[in-house]
Amino acid sequence: MLQATDVWFGYHQPRIFTDLHGSQPRIFTDQHGSQPRIFTDQHGSQPRIFTDLHGSYRAVLRGITLAVPANGFVGILGPNGAGKTTLLRVLAGTRQPQRGTVTFDGTPLTRLSRAALARRMAVVPQETHLAFDYTVAEVTMMGRYPHLGAFEIEGPEDIAIVEETLASTGTLDLKDRPFSTLSGGEKQRVIIAAALAQLHAGHASQPPSPHPGVLLLDEPTASLDLGYQLEVAALLKQLHDAGRVAIVISTHDLGLAGTLCESLTLIRDGAIVASGPTDEVLTPENVRKVYGVEADVMRHPSGQRVVVPVRQSGTREVP
């Protein structure tokens, strides 16, 4: 299970920083919203007070709490600039939150080595542009990086894993093609294959890890056309249903999220607006709150959820 607890992230240090020695718990105040909020943190040994009174500190994430079950499929939705990408980076451990903790199967990310974390969690970005003309097999093999020593050359097992993951994403026949010549959908499937190769513990590993790895995807379909969007969505659903990965996906596509995800977290201005099972979260009220759009949420006869944006409501609520 991947868990983010009261995660705060911002770009500048607060202008006023006080460090009071005493017996109180840590206190963090934030005055960006309409009402000042005070968060206390009792984890630290040294009690401190951080105050930000001048707005020099742009809090991108404000006390986000999120849990990804071991076999979950979680969607993160929100308008541009809401902090979705930052949240994914914090979850991936590539950005350290100023406050709060992210734990993976009970261990704080900060206590896991980069390689140990990379073996359990992989990231799929929106787009991948390579600086050099690697083949599909070479790109996928890069997923094996955290499994090899500094000067170790990949062995037959790594090659088998790469072929296996390429096959499971339907890209094995592209193996020797230059990555740059693929279509957008093919590229995403290859990058997902590389992520799966990264999460693959190896055939000889014993005991096999009790939980599948986590795949973090940052708007993986945003730059794809309709056909490729469905292609990638179907692949993600298949991987998840086979129990191979837990998935966290950020997206602007409400229909895609509504159809794929078991639970959703809606964020705006770095704070959670709604969080819970997809049925309860994907409602017209929440869509209006987050996007300022009057929308109908319907069930299509195929069983998929459809969100029909009707008009701008002009009442985007300030959190």
Partner: protein, 333 residues
Amino acid sequence: MTLARRFARTLIGFGALTIATLLVAPLVGPTAINLRRVFDFSVPFRDNTDAQIFFVARLPRTLAGACVGALFAAAGVVFQGLLRNPLATPFTLGVSTGAALGAVLAITFNWSVGFAGISAVPVAAFAGSLVAVVIVYALAQARHRGLSTTVLLLAGVTMNAFFSALVLFVQYFASFADTYRTLRWLMGDLDVSSYQPILAALPTTVAAFLIFAWLARPLNLLSLGPDSAESRGLDVTRAQRAAFFSASLATGAAVSIGGPIGFVGIIIPHLVRLIVGPDHRLVLPAATLFGAAFLVGCDLVARTILAPVELPVGIITALIGGPFFLWLLIRRP
């Protein structure tokens, strides 16, 4: 074919080319020499003209060419990987212009104090390259937690221009003789006529290549982009720092021996990628070997084409490199 076999084939193929070039180059020149007489130690060295030509003129020159070619080619590979730009060169980030400033100062103000038996110009050139490296690094580091390659590139290009201005400024006050020496230095020449500059550059060279060996796999990952590389388990900032400093020091060492010999650092990596593919674990050793062979070969042409006049090798590499660069630009759709 597995990587291990491709690696072996790459080493054998390019290694054979390099060894052949190194064996042939010292024997060819305007004056014919006889190998048997070169190694005839019954004649005192003083009277053995063949041995003098071989050991004093041609062998150090060949070794200098191999060393400089290997350094420039490998540094080019590393800079291209670091900046994620196949058109980057060892001179893109201002290292060579910093070295040029050092060399020009040493020539113009006639610094005679060398270091450990090496003359002042290579020492000043290496010192100048270090100054440039430190300034560019400090600029790229200033406003970022990690190393921003965009800022690195901008800082490098800016420092290149600024150091060039300083070089011209110093030139303005130089005598004609010094200006001529400076110009010769800027053309890039391997006429070292001693082993001292090579020996002096050896520690830096060895250190740089050890770091390059470690960097091969990180450079592959960096080509995915820093975020993706980080999520694969790579410490991106550490890899970028290692790449920047090792490639800069390699460039500084090479420039201190031969001056800013252009185009080796871009022609060789591209040719090598066409042959072995983009995997840095193959590209780096192949470029190192091929770079050595290429520059020794170019110097052979420079020494013989207008004999007895010996052209600076930088003219030959530029004559090959210019059209090659154009071909690269047109070739890519």
